[in-house]
Amino acid sequence: MNIRSQIKKFLNTIFSNWLSGTGFIIILIFIVIAVLYEILGTRIVPYNPYQINLLQANMPPSSTHWFGTDDLGRDIFSRVIAALPIDLGISLLIVFVSSFIGLVLGIVAGYFRGALEEVIMRLTDLFLAFPPIIMSMAIAATLGPSLLNAAISVIFVWWPPYVRLVRGNTLQVASQDFIAISRVLNTPFRKILFKGVLPNIITPLLIYATMDVGTAMLTLSTLGFLGIGIPINTPELGLMSSILTTTFYTYPYEGLIPAAFIFLIVLGFSLTGEYWKFRTVMKHLQDHIRDSSGRL
């Protein structure tokens, strides 16, 4: 009942504004396609996305190749579909791992306070100082190309805002009377955590995380475009777009189509979040600025 009413509330909020409603539908469509491809594999696409066919190279979009073919004759439509689980999957992984790190460190810091909080928050400050794209590039270059390494290199710079967000919310919840009373009554920590703290901090985290998937995907596809961290021939939208640098004047659709898909998916995520995000981001930024003031 509780979860159902939560979902109902969520859908009401999303569909109360046509912008966020449209965004949500876009995400849903792409996720369904990605899951279908993951389950059914190449059966649902007209061509094998990895199949090189030089005789069919650089074909313009037509009824046989909906989005045309690339310089190696691979069907771009099939590759775009094959890229969806990779791009969405890694972006979700990045956000999921960051949320998990954020939850653990943020709750520890916000609930138990003390020296541990100092250590965790100062460490978070350190990692927050790294410029995301440059640092991801450097780590991806250090680890060598693989999809997992690409994910790790982004996660490395991705988790600090989550710790701040969770800690801030935990602090607020933990200062409320019902938590103080539970503590006095010797309620076991596990119960306080799952019944008191988590339900009250999970919604802002979910909102932030959902919206963050788009940003993670932008960073990931930038790595792909620059050819760092993602193995060649992987159907990854950014990597596929990087063909723009060579076929830009001759066959612009080869790179513009995958780039347009990145745009659509990220737009979907950010439109969905738009309705809340300006509140959460604001609050988050305020917390960030207030939090980092005057303490050493």
Binding site: P131, P252, R279, G294
Partner: protein, 345 residues
Amino acid sequence: MVGRRELTVFILKRILFSFFVIIGTIIIIFLISHTLSKDPAALWAGPKARPSTIAYVTKEYGLNKPLYIQLLNFFEGFFSGNFGTDPVTHQPVASEIFYYFPNTIELVITALIFIIIIGVGLGYISAVHFNSKIDNAIRLLYTSAWATPTFLASILAVLVFTSYIHAFPSGGMYTPGLTPPQRITGIFVLDSLLTGNFGDFVNGLDHLILPSITLAFLNFGIVTRISRSGILNVKWMPYVKNAKAKGVNERSINRNHILRNGLIESNTVIAVMFGWLVTGTVVVEEIFSWPGIGRFAYNAITSDDYPALIYVVIIFTILVIIANLIADIMYAILDPRIRLGGTVK
């Protein structure tokens, strides 16, 4: 009135704190570059390096010594400005970074000016027409701009404005063959203006506009969003109502009561943004052939110049830390509540 002493103490504390953050980040970068890979020497020398090169690199950077000695050497090298030699150009890395740095600053500051104009302007319009068609259109515009991959926007800008409409030159910082003016600040447009070379100035400006507008287009969204919500936050405050009741005219309310207080947040975001923009220059500089440190970083990776990459990462990180420091200080000056122990009383 909060005293000046409090502000000074606050600023000194923040500077000291930033210094420790810089040291901390350098140590983390050191650990990544020296321990994350199984064979750091091979990584430093690049994948195509011969065994003799690897042996040379090992000796040159002391990669076979104990870790704490390596760390000390690393710090010594960094603070003495000895970043090693670029294997491709055979120039010292430090002087290359020093050379490219002002070019990036030129690009970023120009972009920042556009961002402030577009971002605050649209945020204001959006907030005034809250929940109307105009508001929705502006929100759609800035979310779309933000969702655009940097490479897509840059390439489209080049395609549309330089090859279909010949409005701007397609890349570079000035027309090739032009003798750059005497180096005073290192910033091309500024130097050409200072030396009174008006032709060069126009030429530089011509090359500067398209990449900086592209960079601004991609990033104005957050400023619009923050300005919009900042203005909305104060729009319904009692003191605004009070001013209205007193019969202060609309224009004066908007300017003196709403804008001034609503934009405190935006000011600090703009300073933080400087850091983001600097790191966002990698792709833009690469596509516009802009000779800045973003492009230098990318070239360092593609030419397997690992040592140069490490120092560029450090420089970028320090820039971000300084930008955040400035943001915090600006916030404290603009909003005195912040100085009082970090909570709004």
